[in-house]
């Protein structure tokens, strides 16, 4: 996706630059990356403790929810770019 997305952006770089949805998408991508990094360096370190629990601790659930929300937003912003490019 980074490769094909990179090519698509490259071909229409200036129009992407002017699209608010493009920037919204990029920011959400960045936040999604940040979210998974935070997860890995904190609660995931103690995964062995809660691995078998039917419901993971709040911090892990929040990470999951944030991830879901951001990726839904990324899909939506990506689609909306076509209208406001």
């Amino acid at each position: 996706m980074f490769v094909t997305g990179g090519l698509l952006t490259w071909s229409l770089a200036l129009r992407c630059y002017g699209s608010p949805f493009f920037w919204a998408k990029m920011i959400m991508l960045l936040l999604a990356g940040l979210n998974i990094a935070i997860y890995h360096f904190t609660i995931d370190r103690r995964q062995a403790v809660w691995d078998e629990a039917p419901i993971p601790p709040a911090q892990a659930r929040i990470a999951g929810l944030v991830s879901l929300t951001l990726w839904v937003g990324i899909i939506a912003a990506g689609r909306l770019m076509a209208y406001f490019l």
């Binding site: 839904v72 939506a76 689609r79």
Partner: protein, 160 residues
């Protein structure tokens, strides 16, 4: 046969809801976004199932169990994609009628739905050792090809 459907396509395009979608600035766009979300949900579950049947992921979990847990997400994604797809379709039915990619999409959709609830369901609900690995892999491959055929043909509608 497709020619004979034209009057119906024309009729549905002239119904008040179809008109309302065309008039609105947002309904079509929002429907497209939810169409994509439904599609990602559905294709995601199809891919997980296919990877499991091919032996790449979740090897220690029974196929039937995974199928049961994924079912609400497959059905949810499918329902979302079909309902929003219907909205998109009625607003420009005659345009779809004349679009070759749309015809292929409908063909793939029909085959994918048929296969999902026949061949694939038989494999995923069967006992682990009832079918040989090759049969399971082939079933997974057919399901993936059919569903991604729907997606690719759908994307191609915009190019014709």
């Amino acid at each position: 046969m497709w020619d004979r459907l034209y009057p119906y396509f024309l009729w549905i395009e002239k119904t008040p809801p179809a008109h309302a979608i065309r008039e609105s600035k947002w309904i079509f766009t929002i429907a497209e976004v939810f169409h994509l979300l439904g599609l990602t949900l559905l294709l995601g579950t199809v891919l997980i199932m296919a990877l499991r049947l091919s032996g790449f992921v979740l090897q220690r979990k029974a196929v039937a169990g995974i199928a049961r847990e994924l079912m609400p997400f497959s059905i949810g994604g499918l329902t979302l994609a079909l309902s929003t797809g219907a909205l998109l379709f009625i607003s420009e039915a005659t345009k779809c009628w004349g679009n070759v990619a749309f015809r292929y999409k409908m063909l793939f959709l029909f085959l994918a739905l048929l296969f999902q609830f026949t061949g694939l369901q038989r494999i995923t609900r069967a006992d682990e050792h009832r079918f040989p690995p090759l049969a399971r892999k082939m079933t997974a491959l057919v399901a993936v090809v059919l569903w991604f055929g729907v997606a690719i043909a759908g994307r191609a509608i915009a190019f014709f």
